[in-house]
């Protein structure tokens, strides 16, 4: 059993690199968190998480209830999907889904009936805090809960440290570091108890010795709300530590560093240090599922930006089209220029507002040109190394750019491309306006595809070699058989005559067949006399040999 002890710092540490950005969270926090209406149609993608896409369990025409399982998870790293409201399944097929490429993927489309009728609850657990962690994980899994911080990794997997690992510290990530996004803050202010209950369940499931809530120090209201609950609850041992507000302090590895001073190994996981990190929203979702029996069918989404009339935080049913959320917030303003899903640093721009909000959608930023200007034309890199100073991963972004630009995919890995977390700090400070992150994504994708090509050709090479070996084997076996047969056979008398007769018979058959095929007039059954006369004339002309047409 691996027993790692993690010590929390008395004074949280500033993360390396990073940027101070204008928070822009106040706009969406002016109104209290409220539930968004159920839209007429829900577009529920089958893949809203990291891992295998869920497999549909319903067919077009089926009536479904709110919370009903409509697609099951086919593997361990996967998550099931539930109907977010009651209604009828009207289509199962490819629709635009939230993805930087603007691609389409399999969705279940539900025409809601407005009754919002709930299915029988199968998730609620009595005495959760005495339950077997395996049962808790199963329920969390059945509830379709994935990391709500943005990545969407199946939570049940992260609640399972493995048989030979012990969890010393559970970090609850409440450091919502990207500008504009305030969904976690709104949740902490309006449902702190739910979060705490979820944290208790997580702690129990993980047998974590310590729990700490890491929060950015620019959210006094949320800190106050949570602290109030912590003070009131008998359960002690959960600490809340405000960390310096600096983007990207909310990155998992960055937050752990700020709180403990420990660095998660490159290409490693927090559990390597005895730490597990979960988002606050995920904690609340677990409490909802296990205590109230509601699977993950809604989440808090920030709708904000100068492009929307009344920015707010909404409790949104999974599958609600963005357009419906904008409508809920008073519609677009004239300033609307761009629609982003996620924050302005790591989010992506949407081509259309028909795309649905999914489990990992934390923010819809309806931005003006002032907030998100056009990308200025890029100039050559002058190696100012401002990017080096802000890189939280300690990389040399200008070298990565150089090698990505030159498509030198070996050297770029020497510069640790895969340690890049794509936070965007480098591109944000680049005086040459080079879209650096785009170059890194390009290089990563190229390397992945080269790698899979390499594996594919390796497989093909192996198959080819096996085939050659097999052919060789078969050839040998055949020759052996032939040699044996030759030995065992002895020439018989009358053999030649029989062969001659056989050949003659075969020739006869061929001749007969040819004769049969030579007359091939077709569709000649019901010709008029005139036509027959014409044909006869033509035949005559042909046989007489005149080449006239």
């Amino acid at each position: 059993m691996q027993c790692l002890m993690v010590t929390l710092l008395s004074q949280p540490r500033r993360i390396p690199g990073g940027l101070r950005l204008d928070a822009n969270k106040a706009q969406s926090l002016q109104q209290p968190l409220r539930a968004a209406g159920v839209p007429e149609r829900l577009y529920i993608p089958l893949s809203q998480h990291i891992g295998d896409a869920a497999e549909p369990l319903v067919e077009v025409g089926d009536r479904v209830l709110k919370g009903q399982l409509i697609a099951r998870s086919p593997g361990y790293i996967s998550a099931p999907v539930h109907a977010s409201s009651s209604g009828e399944v009207v289509a199962i097929g490819d629709y635009p889904v939230p993805h930087p490429s603007g691609m389409q993927a399999a969705c279940i489309v539900i025409a809601t009936d407005g009754r919002d009728q709930a299915a029988a609850d199968q998730l609620r657990m009595e005495n959760v805090l005495q339950a077997d962690p395996a049962d808790i994980r199963q329920r969390v899994r059945d509830a379709g809960i994935v990391g709500l911080g943005g990545a969407g990794f199946p939570t049940s997997v992260k609640l399972n440290p493995g048989p030979d690992r012990e969890v010393d510290l559970l970090v609850i990530n409440a450091a919502e570091c990207e500008p504009y996004i305030s969904c976690d803050e709104a949740l902490m202010c309006s449902r702190p108890w739910e979060i705490l209950e979820g944290i208790h369940i997580m702690r129990h499931a993980l047998h974590a010795r310590q729990v700490v809530i890491g929060i950015e120090d620019n959210m006094p209201n949320a800190i106050q709300c949570l602290q109030h609950c912590l003070d009131e609850s008998e359960e002690t041992g959960i600490r809340m530590i405000p960390v310096p507000t600096i983007y990207p302090a909310g990155g998992e590895k960055q937050l752990i560093y700020a709180l403990t001073g420990e660095e998660v190994p490159s290409q490693g996981l927090p559990i390597d240090l005895g730490i597990v990190c979960h988002n606050v929203g995920t904690a609340a979702a677990i409490a909802r599922a296990l205590l109230q029996g509601e699977p993950l069918i809604s989440r808090v989404v920030t709708v904000t930006g100068e492009g929307v009339r009344q920015p707010a935080n909404l409790e949104v049913r999974i599958g609600t089209p963005v357009a419906a959320l904008i409508e809920e917030c008073g519609g677009y303003t004239d300033a609307i220029a761009r629609l982003l899903m996620g924050g302005p640093m790591m989010g992506f721009s949407l081509r259309s507002d028909t795309i649905p909000a999914i489990k990992t959608t934390n923010c819809i930023l309806a931005a003006s040109y002032r907030e998100t200007p056009q990308a200025p034309p890029a100039s050559p890199c002058i190696r100012c190394s401002d990017c080096v100073d802000v890189c939280p991963a300690g990389l040399l972004p200008q070298q990565l750019y150089w090698y990505a630009h030159a498509r030198n995919f070996d050297r770029i890995q020497d510069y640790h491309l895969f340690d890049c977390i794509e936070c965007g700090c480098c591109a944000q400070v680049c005086p040459s306006h080079i879209p650096l992150v785009q170059y890194y994504r390009f290089a990563k994708t190229e390397i992945w595809s080269l790698e899979s090509e390499r594996q594919f050709s390796e497989l093909a090479r192996q198959r080819h070699e096996f085939r050659l070996q097999r052919l060789e084997r078969e050839k040998k076996a055949l020759e052996e058989r032939r040699a044996k047969a030759r030995k065992s056979l002895k020439p018989k008398a009358g053999d030649a005559d029989a062969k001659q007769a056989e050949i003659a018979a075969a020739l006869q058959r061929v001749k007969a067949k040819k004769a049969e095929q030579s007359v091939q007039a077709r569709n000649t059954g019901d010709l008029t006399e005139q036509q027959q006369a014409d044909i006869a004339a033509i035949e005559r002309r042909r046989s007489s040999g005149s080449g006239q047409p």
Partner: protein, 347 residues
Amino acid sequence: MEFPTRSSPYLPLHSDLSRLMQRVMLALVPGALALLWFFGWGVLFNLLIAAGTALLAEAAMLQLRGRPVRATLHDGSALLTGLLLGLSLPPLAPWWIAVVGTLFAIVVAKQLYGGIGYNPFNPAMVGFVVLIISFPLQMTLWPPPQGIDAQVLGLTDTLRLVFAGALPADASLDSVTMATPLDITKTRIGLNYTWGEILADPRFGAFAGHGWEWVNVGFLFGGIWLWQRRAIHWQIPASMLGSLFFISLFFYIADADSFGSPIFHLFSGATMLGAFFIATDPVSAATTRRGRLYYGAGIGILTYVIRTWGGYPEGIAFAVLLMNMAAPTIDYLTPPRVFGRRDPEES
């Protein structure tokens, strides 16, 4: 509703190439004004000729190379190269000195290597070195600084000298020019003068050469302002000035008669211009944090070595070029520690 898309990040960007260059040019003002005050109109002519030549040469080369002319000129890098070279040239040098140097800097050292971002050597210093090797006489034509009892040329006389090579009737080239303090130090130490005797010369001021000390103070102020505005990193100037200080202190303590004082070295010649404006040229400098320290230290030490034992009175330009050569290797050998890795070499 449909929307335009692009890749992240989306926020208004923090900095801009042309703004950065403008800031550097603005920071040159105090030093340039001091230079103008002490050394007369020639300084202004050099600046104008070099800047004009730089812009024309850059435009012509961009045109030839089929690159966007207007947008690239707008970044201000060519203008800055011209200005930096113009500030380094002797004010009474004939006009074609600035033209030849700037042409070489922009055409060969910058554009033939691929333009901004691709030049391995600092273009202004390449231009300077070409001049000092090819035209050593013209590169010594520094007038006596203001405030020294010597013949000072007015605007028209300077114009005639620079553009027509004509001297006033009552003057000779020797009477209107004067050796620089670095020059004086070099020759006199060679002649076994003591440092104390050299300092007593009227051409020396409060703590370094008369006039030169204030020029250096001007560039120091501009440089500190640049650092405060985050246009340059502190490592290169700090390590360059630090190493120059310590190496000169070492020899000064060892033999105060034969070596110039640390303060003299810090405030003479192009020390401050070099530390804050030349060595910090990002394209040709080292880029890692540790690398910048080594790079700056190398320039400081080489400058001292060349000034003290080399064939030229001033060594900044050579030191910068030599370290430019070393910059890629320095970068390669000084990678930062990647987050989550124990040492930089671990892979």
